[in-house]
Amino acid sequence: MKSFIDKFFTNTSRFEFLFLIIPFILWVFCFRYFFTGHLWIEADAISYANHINFFTDNLSKGVYPLWDPAWFYGAPYDFFLRRIGDVNPFFFLIILLKLVGVPSATAYLIFLAVYYFLAGLAFYLITRFLLVDRFYAFTAYVLFLFSSWGSEIFYNYIIIIFVPIIWFFYFLLSFSRSPQKVCFLGMCLCVGLVVTTYIPFFFLTILAIFSFLYILFYGKECIDFFKRGFAFLRKNKIFTAFCVFFLLSSCIPGLIFYKESKSGEFALPNRHFGADNSSAVAVGLENVASGDIISHGFFDRIFDDHAHIDMGDIYLPYIFFLVLLAATCARVNKLIFFLLFNILALSLITITSAAGAHRFLYEHVIIFKFIRNIYYFFWLAMLPMGVLLSVAAFKSLLTAINNSSKKIAWLVYIIFCHLIFALFLSAHQGVLTGAWAAIFISLVYFIIYIYCENKISFLAGFFIILLAVFTQSAQVYKSLDNKLFQVQHNDTVYNNQHKDDVDEKISLYYASGWFSILVNYIHTLVLEGYANHRFIFYDNVLPYKDNSEFFKTLGTVMSSMTNMAFVPETESGPGDWKKSPYTAIQADIDPVASGKLSVVRSDANTWVLKTHLSNSQFLVINDNYNSAWHAFINGHQVHLFRANVSFKGLWVPSGESDIVLRFSSPKRYLLQFALIALFAGTFLYLLMLILSFPRKRESS
């Protein structure tokens, strides 16, 4: 045993991977039902999973999807690409898993788990960097891993931006100590990944507050940091130029998206309601308040009723609170203050109307007009910083115990703290047995620490902390599993019931701008009945002006499938209109069956059609119109109309015609693929630098 302990001490770094992987395996065990397919992801996580799957499926076929034909009869896909951050090299993991035969859902969950592990790893490295001790880094890692961040990844999508953010801070800290290419490139890659999403503003805010407080707390180190950083950049000019190029390139998708969001080609009616900015992604102030930290019951079960814990509820293993309580009389240090003020500054923003800070920022700082779910600050920064603060206080406490000769006094104090916490818990309802066990295990740990040899207590610490956290968390997540089993089963019944309720108006989160207008005027049943016919041939085409009378007519025409299409008067001329009395009453709603039209090929961005007509007819494709769609007949570009308010329409000549409809320009696709290659290449370069970094350090 003694030799094992000695070996452990001399080779701690070799055990490091084991420290990280064992808790992770236990975490996977807690959420095993998701991985086995018995439970499925919820809320926003569903749409992100669908979009990532759609994107990776298309990419593996060589198609870069910029249009989603299935999203409310077609919508630009850039919005979803910005949500998921399409250039993320980790998406290749999903493609790879699918290629080897792993089902889509499993591949996505493996990606999520790997990504979460990466977040935990970065958090471990940051703590190890700041507290210079593997034990505290391990404690922070375990607390973070088993906190409700672990369930949040199945409920939410912010893990997508959290991983680059947390790794950015690790690289930044490493760079501040020793300016190296690997750190700088890591920072750039992380910033690039965040910037390519449509919500880089969380990161910018966290970084701004962090930087401001860093200057306040570490002024001297800050000057030193800038001097060394500047020297590094001067020394590595080509490398710096590449990084600048990389960062500028990563801004391109965001800028294109911002421009598109102002064009009116797509709409986010619920999100945009009350916003004073013309961008469709801007959010109204009242809408932000509904996404702040007070508007949800996230904290309601922090001490109560863990048996009924729900997705999104905040849970932290009680070791976190016990340590904070016991460390009350330990020495405070600058790091604790620094973290505390970061948390306080962010909390002022996250409580929106309960403090003036958010309103001020909303009115004066443009990025705040685009942040809706402001409570994400909690997950992205406040929770990790809180855990870090708690572990920093823990270190301070153990140092105080270690330096003291009054063992009995410390023991009494520790028992007192545990009793106080137990008393506090007993006043709450539904405290699980795991929580009491965690308190007991924590007490055992402190007794061992106070009375046993340092080496033994150090080694025992890893296992005891893990045991205390896991004992409680396993029970909490078992309760969550039980609840989800119940809820997801009931939801299936509920959803099936509501599918029959066709009278409800379509609720649009995101859709083509014209379609969002159409749904306001045309009854859902009529619209669905009409748009389910993908191709319709008309003989008569009439101009229209937007007014409520027209929409009444359109509704009638759509429901009766009258042989009459409409094009906007302002976007067409008399030559485009045609009205003949000698035509069929009804439009040809199934030209595929009548042999007039055949679909040669189609993908997310393209339609290739073949037509055979006896006379010229107007073809309406019930896929939403967008000005970036282009139409070609027999190789010649033709005018693509916005037909029947929201859909695509074009005149097709008599005889045989080859029709091609393509979304966006070849340049755009080239740009997208180039960016993917740039990010993948940079990631590989970073990996290469990381792998060579320890050897360089050893040789130096």
Partner: protein, 307 residues
């Protein structure tokens, strides 16, 4: 002393405990605690809003609704009361729920405490209290509460209900398809009927006649046949058979399916020695009884209501 305080402050500022002090100062300086508290309460309330459809259906016809989950309503109303302890509307609604949960004493206490506002009577609490006493056969208490109900300010009742957030939630329910005014008028008619019945049971026949006349004169009330009926019964009790006969005839003229007036007319005929006519009316009364029309007798079909 000064040195000791300085030492304590120095010790405190050098310990982790100081973060709690900072947190406290931060909260009282930068956070609008009142707003925070209010928003948390609103969230809790929003999360607790039950589906009112079943309660609405129950209020209309208790026999039609089985296995109603009263707990969700009770929890919701109790939560509101914990934030706004003097809310008259919520007390009344909680009283209604408590009664059907078998907590009669709590219901009575809640109805009593919500029966008036600034000296003005709130119709529904007095009505429910009256119905509750009536069902228990406590005629004097029933008459007192029902009298307060008929004397209450109906305009105030309508305004209070229309302004109450919880009633807005009830009205938003797809199960609510009723006119508030019609429901109130109907409940007022029932109040008169129960009041007349209570007074009749108390043998206060003159009061019955007086209130019947008031009821008959009130244009907004329905079921006026019942007012004639009770007035007729009272005249019968005090021996004025001719008046009783006319009033009971009037009652039948308005509502011919109620078996009770026929029975008492048969009694009058019997007392007058006209056995043939008496027999005929008795037969009609018996035949109508056999139909088991759920509307009759009026007082038996009256239940507690909240709208």
């Amino acid at each position: 002393m000064y040195k000791l305080i300085t030492q304590i402050i120095q010790w405190l500022t050098s310990r982790v405990a100081v973060i709690y002090v900072i947190l406290f100062i931060f909260c009282i300086s930068f956070v609008d605690l009142k707003m925070l508290d209010m928003r948390i309460k609103v969230r809790h309330l929003n999360n607790a809003i039950p589906d009112f459809s079943a309660l609405i259906n129950f209020s209309r016809d208790p026999k039609e609704v089985n296995g109603l989950n009263w707990v969700s309503y009770k929890k919701y109303f109790e939560l509101i009361l914990s934030y706004i302890p003097n809310d008259l509307i919520i007390k009344h609604l909680l009283g209604y729920v408590d009664y059907y949960m078998g907590q009669e004493q709590e219901a009575i206490a809640l109805f009593k405490s919500s029966s008036s506002m600034n000296g003005q009577g709130f119709f529904w609490s007095n009505y429910n209290l009256g119905v509750l006493y009536y069902k228990k056969g406590m005629w004097s208490q029933a008459a007192e509460s029902l009298f307060k109900a008929v004397s209450s300010n109906t305009k105030l009742t309508v305004i209070l209900i229309q302004d109450a957030t919880v009633y807005k939630q009830i009205f938003n329910s797809p199960a609510f398809k009723y006119s508030l005014k019609d429901e109130l008028d109907d409940a007022q008619s029932n109040t008169y009927i129960l009041l007349l019945s209570s007074l009749f049971n108390l043998k206060q026949y003159e009061k019955v006649i007086l209130i019947s006349n008031i009821g008959i004169a009130n244009q907004s009330l329905t079921k006026k046949d019942a007012f004639y009926y009770y007035a007729g019964l009272s005249y019968l009790e005090i021996g004025q058979f001719e008046k009783a006969f006319l009033l009971l005839q009037k009652s039948i003229a308005i509502e011919k399916d109620n078996p009770d007036p026929y029975y008492y007319i048969a009694n009058i005929y019997e007392k007058a020695g006209q056995l043939q006519q008496s027999q005929e009316f008795l037969q009609v009364s018996y035949a109508l009884h056999q139909k088991h029309d759920p509307r009759f007798p009026y007082d038996a079909s009256v239940n507690l209501q909240f709208f």
